[in-house]
Assembly symmetry: C2
Homo-oligomer: 127 residues x 2
DNA sequence: TGCAATAGTTTCAAAAAATGAACTATGGGG
DNA sequence: CCCCATAGTTCATTTTTTGAAACTATTGCA
């Protein structure tokens, strides 16, 4: 049973990591970040890609990410005006986390199940 | 602008990673997992450590994690009966994700802010 | 028989998040 | 002076999540 890394982080960790879950939280955040990992995006683009997200939810999310310093918002006046959203350095720095999630899914994703006992895994024991 | 890893994962990724966010989602999940990273825990122990979580929320969380194959539940009859929760292999496999979050926080945590413009960071530009 | 200690469940209320529909703002062109 | 396209905002409603309080179940023992 090797808890190496976590042992190092010990108790200070939950508190340390919580702010990040505030960032990743929310129904659409994940898709939104993936969209932005692939480059600068305009409001309308995001709205189309994340269909059927509501414009309110999209602005809520973007404002939160902006507040946390994850994205920048650049306004281009002119007709019609447009606005571009782009990841900051710390926003791009989120990638290793997603990479780790991806690795986990590769390794253990097949263990996932929705129906209890679907794959004959035992998670309940009577001793 | 180096989107290396994500570029590799491309579009398949959001769908691939989503199941994991289902696991990590929820107000208490993070603390709960940290508690279990440090070893086997009984229901009452978890309840005390996560105070003031309600027993309902705790069972909801544990049942979800069990369903997803992240924890096992072992019942020890006898008086008084007790139940132990323990991470499965895939549950322990979540650690690198937390490690990546921890690294992110070390690197960028200081950029985080609650109040708009608190640290003089520019996230809004007019071009 | 009833109490103690464990691990829950049940029911209902409260709070938080997401949605839908309609509306605002901007400014050049017809 | 109205229209177009952009990027939102506002407000009421629905859905989801969380919580609090009280209750159930098990079983050995006094």
């Amino acid at each position: 049973m090797n808890y190496g890394v976590i042992m190092m982080m010990d108790r200070s960790c939950p508190g340390t990591v919580e702010p990040i879950l505030e960032i990743l939280d929310g129904k659409w955040t994940l898709l939104l970040l993936f969209e932005l990992f692939n480059g600068t995006r305009r409001f309308g683009e995001l709205r189309r890609k994340l269909q059927p997200i509501s414009p309110k939810t999209l602005t809520d999310r973007l404002r939160l990410l902006e507040e946390k310093g994850i994205v920048t918002r650049t306004i281009y006046p002119g007709v019609p005006l447009h606005v571009e959203y782009e990841l900051t350095e710390s926003g791009q720095g989120l990638q290793p986390i997603f990479a780790a999630m991806w690795t986990w899914t590769q390794e253990y994703g097949s263990y996932l199940r929705k129906e209890p006992n679907e794959m004959g895994q035992e998670t309940e024991k009577l001793v």
